[in-house]
């Protein structure tokens, strides 16, 4: 019977470090990060993919870490908020969140930062969104597009305007640097 199934071994590459864990098959990637690797920057807000606080990048793409199992990620490259920057050396996005007050309580914030970071890459790659006027070209970077793409990250403090100001300031800076 499966009532006492044995733990399974899985090796994750988390923020550039290889981590081998023995986990119950039921352990989500989120709980593996928080409870097994003590990387508590990734937050649990709903555990059902309904808030975005648990957003991490797996092989370069943002996902909800609460809705995937640790054992499914053998060999995957996981980037968490801890891999984006530190208080001593924050990323541009993290610094912009502080400047724009893109948070209040701070609980959804790591997820917002992860999504904001990933969204800029999605724009760069020309991904369309629900509000894109024309599907065949690359979407413009504007607040409506950004808001739609960030909507998988809820913020009950409702720091939305500051969050989008922060992401926009990084996008603008990146664009200027490229030109």
């Amino acid at each position: 019977m499966a009532e006492r199934n044995p733990p399974q071994s899985v090796t994750l590459n988390v923020n550039g470090t290889s981590e081998t864990l023995e986990v119950d098959t039921r352990v989500t990637l989120l709980d593996a990060l928080r409870d097994h690797l003590n990387l508590t920057g990734t937050k649990k807000g709903c555990d059902h993919g309904q808030c975005g606080a648990c957003t991490v990048m797996v092989n370069g793409r943002r996902i909800n870490s609460c809705l995937t199992l640790a054992v499914m990620h053998e060999g995957d490259e996981i980037t968490t908020i801890e891999g984006i920057g530190t208080p001593e050396a924050p990323s541009d996005m993290q610094r912009a969140f502080v400047t724009c007050d893109g948070f209040q309580c701070g609980y959804c914030t790591p997820g917002q930062v992860m999504s904001g970071t990933a969204v800029l890459e999605e724009f760069r790659q020309g991904w369309p969104s629900h509000v894109s006027k024309d599907l065949t070209g690359n979407a413009d970077f504007n607040d409506e597009e950004l808001a739609e793409r960030m909507s998988g990250n809820l913020c009950r403090c409702s720091a939305y305007p500051g969050i989008r100001q922060a992401i926009t300031s990084v996008a603008t800076k990146t664009k200027e640097a490229a030109e």
Partner: protein, 728 residues
């Protein structure tokens, strides 16, 4: 004991004299980098050695008695340590400032979703599985769950003058019913506690707003001395009222830790947060306005029915702001509390104003329409000279300026007549409302230590996202003449002096004043050390100056100076009515086909005394305004009509606003000093932004398409029904 300064007299404006230049500035939050890098530790995130995991089990009947617990389904599951159940378990979270245990119901069940037991296991996964499998048996009793039909209703009438006569004599009247659904705080961090015992002492790492009270509540729940309880809440992932009082997860964690002799962590699932944490009551309201032809109010009637469990003290104070917003001699209230068996209700951000102002400000809009007066002008014509019921003067009130300056900045004069502006499929319209929220002072204490040119602030105040770390640091830095990075603020530990806590928008004024008073005592000692009068002392960037003498603080405070400050309410709170005011302006699009409403622009202009940090104050206002937007358009608790249980018990079914619902929001804060409020001249701002905001949204919907929404929220189905009734 700290000597408590009583707020009996208007206070001098010391912050207008100090020169450090940090107070009021839009400074970054000192803890900001910890939060954006994921390093700020929240309640569930500091594991204790040997810690185990508990998951709560809820009742699946509405009312009755627990008769048995069947653990057989847990047999053979690995890692299960036990099913914990104790007469000390609490029925629901304590109400704000209860300061004593919530009801401990033993075997009685009073609502669907009540916490009944705790399954503890070596791992979270095992505990969650065990909690799902545990079978409870009950004897059920009949339960009334519908507030509109229930038999048990408490009634609290109140009146001034004769409203019926005023209605009869008035040139124009409004008599309408409004309803708002239940709502929840839905803080992003679910309620979480880690408890462990050392001898007779329990430590709880929790997520709480008011530690001074929470400590007593937990002690009372456990039947122990508060001296034996320590609570730590340095970071709180949002509260909005839901973490005001000690909750079932904290009590269960403490009991389980005691029984098992190991640290226990209990984190509520999101669904359990809906089931077990206090909701905001639904309301049914009747608004009557009696006015002369020129719009001057002769009377206001605001009757309401809210609900709560039998025995709960709290009831949503729906008409709170109606008492003071507008004039009119004849006033009538009737507050009804329907006693029903649903998840009990309690404080959710801006209890009273959040829902009462939806009705009052909608009714004012309807009056403006009927009387043919501009809605801004109607409000300007009804500003009372004094508090219309208490007869006391307002301390400071820039409501008129908020209305006028907001209208100007928004371009209110460009508003078009009802249902006359169309862009493609979208009706476009504008709406506005007033905002008001009473200001209060709650006893609060803090300790400030100056050692050399560094200061430490300590208080059990919390920062639930409001900006306490920022403003308390600014207050100490400003008064002690130190740059921000020379002041460290330590919060969220009951070993520090007891603060007001975060709730009712009292935190900044109350705990800020305690820090102010402690720092001011240090200023006095520095003046003494400098041999000058306190008013001749200037402190800036670590240097003390008096006349032509100047000395570094590193020398003056080479030996640490520690002072405690405390404040409590006094005559000023009785002799004056204190409140923050504001005005909201909204432009909205309503889809003529699908009935979807999307806010396009939103401006809030507020006056709330001295602003301590323009950046965090603005964020608080934006937050409140978005809550208003959510109340107007999306937020709604749905209850099962048979059990009363909450059906929309997750974040997919309970719709808080998402990014796409929220445009870039404009906030303007008008300069103001409230000398009667506290020594800083600051008033509460955390709840002002929500007051009236939702009504500005639905008033804009009316202007856009002619559909008046009186049953909140204005979901597409209701707008379609309205459009079809108009033949649109």
């Amino acid at each position: 004991m700290t000597d408590m300064f009583r707020m009996d007299k208007p206070q001098p404006r010391l912050f207008d004299e100090t020169v450090q230049g940090v107070i009021g500035k839009p400074l970054d939050r000192p803890e900001g980098l910890l939060k954006v890098t994921g390093r700020a530790p929240y309640a569930a995130e500091v594991p204790e050695a040997n810690m185990v995991h508990g998951v709560l089990v809820r009742s699946t009947i509405t009312r009755g008695r627990l008769t048995g617990i069947d653990k057989s389904a847990l047999e053979g599951l690995s890692g299960i340590l036990g099913v914990i159940r104790s007469p000390e378990f609490v029925r629901n979270s304590a109400q704000g400032m209860a300061n004593e245990a919530p009801i401990q119901p033993e075997d009685h069940v009073a609502y669907f979703g009540q916490p009944m037991a705790l399954v503890v296991a070596e791992t979270f996964e095992a505990a969650r599985d065990g909690a799902h499998r545990l079978r409870l048996s009950y004897e059920t009793e009949h339960a009334e769950i519908d507030p509109t039909t229930t038999s048990e209703i408490d009634t609290k009438p109140d009146s001034f003058g004769d409203l019926d006569s005023a209605m009869a004599q008035a040139d124009v009247t409004i008599d309408q019913k409004y309803s708002t659904p239940g709502q929840v705080s839905a803080a992003m961090e679910p309620h979480a506690s880690i408890a462990w015992w050392e001898g007779d002492n329990v430590t709880l790492r929790g997520s709480y707003q008011m530690l001074r009270f929470n400590r007593n509540e937990l002690a009372d729940s456990l039947g122990i001395d508060p001296e034996n309880v320590r609570i730590l809440s340095p970071y709180v992932g949002g509260g909005f009222g839901s973490k005001l009082g000690i909750g079932s997860e904290a009590v269960a964690a403490a009991i389980a830790a005691r029984e098992l002799g190991r640290p226990v962590r209990v984190v509520m699932s999101r669904q359990h947060v809906f089931d077990m944490v206090l909701r905001r009551s639904e309301t049914h309201q009747r608004l009557r306005l009696a006015a002369k032809a020129d719009g001057t109010l002769l009377g206001i009637g605001h009757e309401d029915r809210v609900s709560n469990l039998p025995g709960e003290e709290f009831s949503e104070p729906t008409a709170m702001a109606t008492h003071f917003m507008y004039g009119g001699e004849n006033r009538l209230y009737n507050h009804e509390i329907a006693r029903i068996h649903r998840t009990p209700s309690g404080s959710v951000r801006a209890p009273g104003e959040a829902v009462g102002m939806l009705a009052l400000e909608s009714a004012m809009d309807e009056l403006a329409e009927v009387a043919g007066i501009d809605p801004v002008e109607l409000r300007l014509r009804n500003l009372p000279e004094k508090h219309p019921e208490k007869g006391v003067p307002f301390s400071s009130r820039r409501f008129e300026d908020c209305l006028r300056e907001g209208a100007k900045e928004f371009g209110w004069e460009n508003r078009t007549p009802t249902a006359s502006r169309r862009e493609g499929d979208w009706f476009i319209g504008c709406g506005m409302s007033g905002a008001g929220r009473a200001n209060m002072l709650v006893p609060s204490e803090a300790r400030v230590t100056l050692e050399g040119d560094r200061a430490i602030v300590e208080t059990d105040m919390t920062d639930i996202g409001t900006g306490s770390y920022a403003i308390l640091t600014q207050i100490a830095a400003e008064l002690l003449g130190l740059p921000m990075d020379r002041v460290e603020t330590r919060l969220g530990d009951t070993r520090f002096p007891g603060a007001s806590g975060s709730g009712g928008s009292v935190g900044a004024g109350s705990s800020g004043s305690s820090v102010f008073l402690a720092a001011k005592k240090i200023r006095a000692r520095l003046a003494e050390a400098m041999g000058c009068a306190e008013e001749d002392l200037t402190l800036q960037d670590g240097i003390a100056r008096s006349g032509n003498i100047q000395k570094p603080l590193s020398e003056l405070a080479a030996t640490a100076m520690t002072e405690e400050g405390g404040i409590k309410p006094g005559a000023m709170g009785k002799e004056f009515f204190q409140a923050g005011f504001g005005a909201h302006f909204v432009e909205i699009g309503v889809n003529a086909i699908t009935g979807e409403a999307r806010v396009r622009r939103m401006l809030g202009v507020f006056s709330a005394g001295r602003i301590l940090n323009e950046k965090t104050a603005t964020s608080q206002c934006i937050g409140g305004m978005v809550w208003g937007l959510g109340a107007a358009l999306t937020e709604e608790l749905q209850h099962d009509p048979r059990t009363g249980g909450i059906v929309s018990r997750d974040l997919a079914n309970y719709h808080v606003a998402s990014h796409a619902d929220v445009p870039m929001i404009d906030v303007r804060l008008l300069p103001e000093r409230d000398d009667q409020a506290n020594p800083m001249q600051a008033k509460g701002i955390g709840e002002l932004g929500i007051s009236g905001a939702g009504a500005a949204v639905t008033n804009a919907i009316y202007n856009a398409c002619g559909v008046r929404i009186r049953d909140f929220p204005a979901t597409p189905d209701k707008i379609i029904a309205g459009l079809e009734a108009l033949g649109r």
